[in-house]
């Protein structure tokens, strides 16, 4: 979920509520509108999805379209940035994937600036007002105080008066305070009780929390004008809902006197304070009308509205969810079980001394590792007492240039012990170490980061595990090798008598890497043009031709190209990255690179 898509999804519900309000405001209980606004608010503030296997139907389609549109706006921007930094890159030393280090989007910066500005405005305003409120003086009327105590349960509500406010208000969530303006000191007891009941209702319903959530939603979605409309209308509905309660409690006979009380109080209205129950002229009119017409809310209207709420909950909450993938982490319960997956993964058993760490009490070692494009799996054995919890942090490093490549977002799970050895399964996902980039990606739902980076490119780099247990730290290291996942290796067709420049081509769903050792490659390095044909069994062939500018391909397949050389293995390679297209690997029969055929290695 991105901020943009959350905002777009809320557009339709907000419009619906606005229409409903215009049509039937006084015929429906105000509590209903508050509940509806509350649902939208939750949608705006919490990014969650309810997983559903519902196929897209008429109702859900517009919502998923909104998400797609928002995503496509994001990805178009991202793609442009990528393309500007990608084409024709040649990397000499380290195998890097193009687009790994993308710059921070300017849109994100603008968003965060406004977010901070708006939030600080509200918070600052609130703190300023609070200073005035705290100088209020206690109210002396014992009858009033007695009555107040009878109304409240566990939170004690304080009653105070101030000559610096012009209409009653309440503040404080944990220790609520009702402030009465000094001008009300002479009001009759009934009027005062009405006003106090109104404020007490605010307190009982935790309306202040609601208002703060509204402000947060406004700060996050400042760019969406409908959210501003929602802010104004919801505040009004909160007021009217409390008015409703007052009338329900004291009876219809007080409507006139209550309305008059409100008018009296607004005669002296002054500055705009958004956090408590102040109101503008239009809002007051709405309130008065609603009070005077309060006995119009109909039974059937309420029933109909009830079902509307149920319907809205479903519509607002369901968003299409992505398919689940095979979850190794949950399924492996013993150390042995990882070998059941050797069809899907290459399981490595590292024996270097660096995969072991010892101390006086404990001995830790890496029993097995497995790598896919984005995941690192490791089985770790620990011998010796474990008194505290075991914690682990892992990163990937390049030992030759002594640089940290990326972080791993990991989980650790204990497996069944064997003998006196306790086993743990670690699963880590590649993640960017730069926190700013990660925040940015959360808000722009950038999944392209994972598309552009793969453990495959970090062959022979190291993963360092930092274990902490029993108050000591242990460092275990292992090499990235045999990165599996869906990847097929194509070798020179023997019929070509080894005349091709490249030794092999590895095909994955996101790209092709074809590489060769120095002796075969050098000539080809000079001429950057190449052409590749992906021969498929059921579908037609895909042609990819490169020239000075970039790659020209068939429409369904946009791709970018980079190349480099690895110093350690002396391999030259070319990487073709499929930008957004995916290839059905099971359908591929052969690759023809510059006229030379490579066949699947079986």
């Amino acid at each position: 979920m991105t901020v943009l898509s959350m905002s777009l999804i809320a557009v339709i519900p907000i419009l619906l509520i606005i229409v409903l309000r215009a049509l039937a405001l006084n015929k429906l209980p105000k509590k209903l509108f508050v509940a509806l606004w509350g649902l939208v608010l939750i949608r705006l503030v919490i990014p969650f999805t309810i997983p559903t296997s519902l196929k897209t139907d008429q109702v859900i389609r517009p919502i998923s379209n909104a998400t797609d549109q928002a995503n496509s706006i994001d990805t178009t921007i991202r793609q442009t940035v990528n393309q500007l930094t990608n084409s024709g890159q040649v990397s000499e030393d380290v195998a890097t994937h193009s687009g790994f280090f993308s710059s921070i989007s300017p849109l994100f910066l603008i968003w965060i600036v406004f977010f901070i500005l708006i939030l600080s405005f509200f918070v600052g305003n609130h703190l300023r007002c609070l200073r005035t409120y705290k100088t209020a003086l206690p109210v002396d009327d014992p009858a009033l105080k007695n009555w107040l105590v009878k109304q409240t349960w566990f939170r004690r509500v304080q009653l105070r008066q101030s000559d610096q406010i012009s209409s009653p208000l309440t503040y404080g969530v944990l220790r609520p305070v009702i402030l009465l303006p000094k001008t009300m000191a002479d009001a009759d007891i009934d009027q005062t009780r009405h006003v106090l009941t109104h404020e007490l209702t605010h307190i009982k319903r935790f309306d202040l929390v609601f208002k703060w959530l509204l402000i947060i939603a406004l700060s996050v979605h400042w760019f969406n004008p409908l959210v501003w409309v929602m802010y104004v209308l919801t505040n009004r509905d909160l007021e009217m809902s409390c008015d409703e309660t007052v009338i329900k409690k004291f009876g219809n006979k007080i409507t006139t006197s209550y309305a008059l009380t409100l008018i009296q109080l607004t005669e002296l209205n002054s500055k705009w304070t958004p956090l408590h129950s102040h109101f503008s002229k239009h809002a007051i009119e709405e309130r008065i009308v609603s009070i005077m017409r309060s006995n119009q809310s109909s039974f059937w209207g309420t029933i109909g509205a009830f079902f509307l709420v149920i319907g809205s909950v479903l519509v607002f909450s369901i968003t299409p969810v992505e398919a689940q993938s095979l979850n190794l982490f949950d399924q492996i319960e013993t150390a042995e079980q990882i070998y059941d997956y050797d069809e899907f993964l290459s399981i490595n058993r590292p024996y270097d001394h660096i995969t072991m760490a010892t101390s006086a009490e404990d001995q830790l070692y890496i029993e097995a590792t497995a790598f896919t494009d984005h995941l690192v799996y490791a089985i770790i054995g620990i011998e010796g007492p474990i008194i505290t919890d075991v914690e682990v942090e892992a990163i990937a490093v390049d030992p030759y240039i002594e640089k940290t490549l990326f972080g791993l977002d990991g989980e650790l799970k204990e497996l069944a012990p064997e003998g006196n050895v306790r086993y743990f399964l670690y699963r880590g996902k590649i993640t960017d170490l730069d926190v700013t980039n990660r925040i940015q990606r959360f808000f722009t739902n950038d999944t392209d980061f994972l598309k552009s980076v793969s453990l495959r490119d970090y062959h022979q780099r190291l993963i360092e595990f930092n274990f902490a247990l029993n108050g000591s730290e242990y460092l275990l290291t292992t090499m990235i090798e045999n990165v599996s996942g869906q990847a097929y290796t194509f070798l020179l067709d023997p019929k070509d008598h080894g005349e091709g420049f490249y030794d092999q081509a590895i095909l994955t769903s996101t790209g092709i890497r074809f590489s060769g050792t120095k002796s075969t490659f050098e000539d080809d390095w000079e001429s950057p043009d190449f052409s590749i044909t992906i021969v498929r069994m059921k579908e037609g062939p895909i042609e990819l031709d490169s020239d000075q500018i970039g790659i020209i391909s068939t429409e369904e397949f946009t791709a970018s190209h980079s190349r480099g050389r690895s110093f350690q293995t002396e391999q030259f390679y070319n990487d073709i990255d499929f930008d957004r297209s995916k290839l059905d690997l099971t359908d591929v029969e052969a690759l023809i690179i510059n006229g030379v055929t490579y066949r699947l290695n079986n």
Binding site: K134, L137, P138, D163
Partner: protein, 120 residues
């Protein structure tokens, strides 16, 4: 000195009028007991009074000295009340208080003089 003091500021002044010069800390303690203000709140109000010229700060120990007497503050309040309720016609206020609606010219003159004297 014609300065408008809010209720909160008058409360602080009250403490000083009753007890004479007091340290800010003591004022805060007294008011905490009387009206439940936190120390910060009391200090904020004291500062407001200082800005308005109602309190003078004496060092050391942040002693608060009332720069306005109780009578002066009361006179100001009365003046304000008259302006608000009677559009500045002081004589009407007195007449009202006395319960009379018709006054002779001399009586009005007398009252005006009286009020002017009080207002000085």
């Amino acid at each position: 000195m014609n300065i408008k003091l809010f209720d909160s500021e008058l409360k602080v002044m009250d403490v000083l009028w009753q007890n004479g010069d007091t340290t800010a800390k003591e004022v805060a303690q007294i008011l905490n007991k009387e009206v439940g203000w936190s120390k910060t709140t009391t200090y904020t109000v004291i500062k407001k009074c200082i800005n308005k010229g109602a309190i003078k700060r004496i060092e050391p120990k942040f002693v608060c000295h009332p720069f306005v007497t109780k009578e002066e503050a009361q006179a100001f309040e009365t003046r304000e009340l008259i302006e608000k309720m009677y559009d500045g016609a002081e004589d009407q206020l007195i007449a009202n208080l006395l319960g009379r609606t018709n006054l002779s010219k001399e009586e009005i003159e007398q009252l005006k003089n009286l009020v002017n004297r009080l207002g000085e």
